[in-house]
Amino acid sequence: MNLFLALVVAVLFGTGASLLLKPDLFRVVAGLMLISNAASLTVITSGLRRGQAPIHPLVPGEPVADPLTQAMTLTALIIGFATTALLLAMAYRIYTTHRSVDLDDLSRSERTAEEELERGTAVEQVETEDAEAEQEAAGTPR
């Protein structure tokens, strides 16, 4: 059983790691999701022992399953869920600004933006953005 679970963890982690190296943002997020589940599975495997459910009242004399790893796994799953949601929101935001989720595209558009900034063509645009920000700040009710 331990060997089987160790193999599952290894496959999950390996698949996640290979997805993490893909240039597509959503694949990166999916890879991280798999790794987070590999970690959760490791946590629950770390306290694997047979026994009755750790719920009061307990039958005396019989072994009890480890409740601590179950609590830890639940917490880890919730944290994994929250981080996945955050990552997906960030990836979506990148998609809406750049119309692309390809990391190569992103770094290319970043480089052109930087070059424009150095040449001074984008300065005006930045200034208007700043003015907008000030207006926004001034326009909010105090």
């Binding site: 993490l20 943002l25 990166v28 997020v29 991280l32 790794i35 987070s36 590999a38 970690a39 959760s40 490791t42 946590v43 495997t45 770390s46 306290g47 601590l68 790893t69 830890m72 917490t75 880890a76 944290i79 929250a82 981080t83 955050l86 990552l87 960030m90 990836a91 935001r93 990148i94 600004t97 750049h98 992103l106 970043e110 933006a113 953005e129 920000a133 000030e134 700040a137 909010t140 009710p141 105090r142």
Partner: protein, 458 residues
């Protein structure tokens, strides 16, 4: 209510409430700053209590001692919690007065502070992970909260790399639990002597990678410059001055505190990686023109000093690592907050920060460097002493390059030239000088921190 629980009890409801409020309104920002100031006061009281009366312990929720989660403040935790929250307070005020506050900025800063306070004050490995994720998630959101698409891109990379580190931490923790059967740090430290050396080595390496990513050590640093370079100044200051402390604290607590035998085995490697980090950070910083990128590489380089101290080992070196972490946090917060501002006052503050980073008296940084020097001499390690000199000299070069580029030239544009922001920077500079002029409390606390780490293993 115990002094140990009080900061969390103040911060937690305030953070939950702040989510509902509109952070762009000034009163909301000031209210959040008030809560943080209260937390700083409570943590200062806690630090005084720990310094005079030894570690403070509380078992949460009134459970029996071996069932409930234990909160525990020793000198190291109390000291780093105090400094980190003070840095967050300065950054929050800076963000509010310079009108860079977004809707969720105060709430995220408060959540980040809850996480930071909790992780420095917990005595339980798993609740460390929970608090640590809380702080990190708030940091990812803060790093992504700018208006430019480029920032979201670098924030996403920041989040992905650090989450990978977090999951490695989780796997290491699961393995540690399997090997020792407990999650309480003191019990783990006791049990860890008897576990299989191979398992212990795996755990130790996993923890090292997890915290190395957090701290931005040399092979794991690649996410750092773009995030520090593109985040707003207040966020960059928090990342460099408060979140980086997690990495240093984790290395000290988990390597020196829980697994000292494995640490001693790897001492040479640690000193090696630390040296490479210091040199690499300094050389890269000299090669950069953009002030924030220079500071980002400087942050990478200075993480190396902690590692060198850790590799040297012993009470003096561990105390030096704690002291250096504290002074470095203050310096980096000061420099990142100052870098976008102009004017003679900010110029003077920046110079104070630069002198402090280089380790010139009477600034706080002098004592950080001096204690490392002391540790190097005590370990009679000539390369370390030489490294400190070379590192300090390189620091001078790149910081005064920035100074020359920005403050010796007539101001061309007024970047958000808010008076309040300049006052925050000046206040931090005064704090750095004050710590340098009256270092006894800090020295005493960091000494105790070194002691506390050694005493974790009886």
């Amino acid at each position: 209510m115990s002094l140990l629980v009080a900061p969390l009890m103040v911060l937690w409801p305030a953070a939950a409430l702040a989510v509902l409020a509109d952070g762009r309104r000034r009163p909301v920002g000031w209210a959040a700053a008030g809560v943080l100031a209260a937390a700083v006061a409570l943590l200062a009281a806690l630090a005084v209590r720990v310094a005079t009366g030894g570690p403070v312990e509380v078992v949460a929720g009134g459970w029996p001692a071996d069932v409930g989660i234990r909160l525990r403040a020793d000198a190291l935790g109390a000291l780093l919690a105090l400094v980190s929250v003070a840095v967050v307070l300065a950054a929050l005020v800076h963000g509010v007065v310079s009108r860079r506050s977004t809707r969720l900025f105060p709430a995220l800063m408060l959540f980040l502070t809850v996480g930071l306070t909790g992780l420095f004050l917990t005595g339980d490995v798993f609740s460390f992970y929970v608090f640590f994720e809380l702080a990190m998630i708030a940091a990812y959101a803060l790093a992504a909260s700018g208006r430019e698409g480029r920032m979201v891109g670098s924030a996403l990379i920041f989040a992905v790399v650090n989450l990978l580190g977090s999951f490695l931490f989780l796997i290491a923790t699961a393995t540690l639990y399997r090997a020792t059967g407990t999650l309480e740090m003191l019990a783990v430290a006791e049990q860890a002597r008897d576990i299989d050396p191979n398992t212990a080595a795996v755990i130790s390496v996993l923890y090292f990678v997890a915290f190395g990513v957090k701290l931005g050590l040399f092979p794991f640093h690649f996410w750092l410059p773009s995030v520090y370079g593109s985040a707003p100044p207040a966020v960059a200051a928090v990342l460099a001055g408060a979140l980086a402390n997690i990495g240093a604290y984790g290395l000290l607590r988990f390597q020196a505190g829980l697994l000292p035998r494995e640490l001693a085995l790897a001492a040479g490697i640690l000193v090696g990686i630390g040296t490479v980090t210091i040199i690499y950070g300094a050389v890269q910083a000299i090669g950069r023109r953009d002030a924030r990128e220079v500071l980002a590489y400087s942050a990478i380089g200075h993480a190396g000093y902690v590692l060198v101290a850790l590799g040297l080992g012993g009470r003096v070196a561990l105390a030096a690592a704690a002291l250096f972490t504290v002074t470095n946090a203050l310096n980096k917060a000061l420099l990142f907050l100052a870098v976008d501002l102009r004017g003679p006052l900010v110029g003077a503050a920046f110079a104070v920060g630069a002198f402090s980073v280089a380790g010139v008296p009477p600034s706080a940084g002098f004592f950080g460097k001096a204690s490392l020097f002391d540790a190097g001499v005590q370990a009679s390690s000539a390369p370390t002493v030489l490294l400190l000199f070379v590192g300090g000299a390189l620091t001078f070069v790149y910081l005064f390059q920035i100074y020359q580029h920005t403050y010796w030239r007539p101001p061309q544009d007024h970047h958000h030239a808010s008076r309040g922001a300049r006052m925050v920077v000046a206040a931090l500079a005064v704090l750095v000088l004050a710590v340098g002029l009256w270092p006894e409390p800090l020295l005493a606390l960091s000494d105790q921190a070194g002691d506390a780490l050694l005493r974790m293993v009886p």
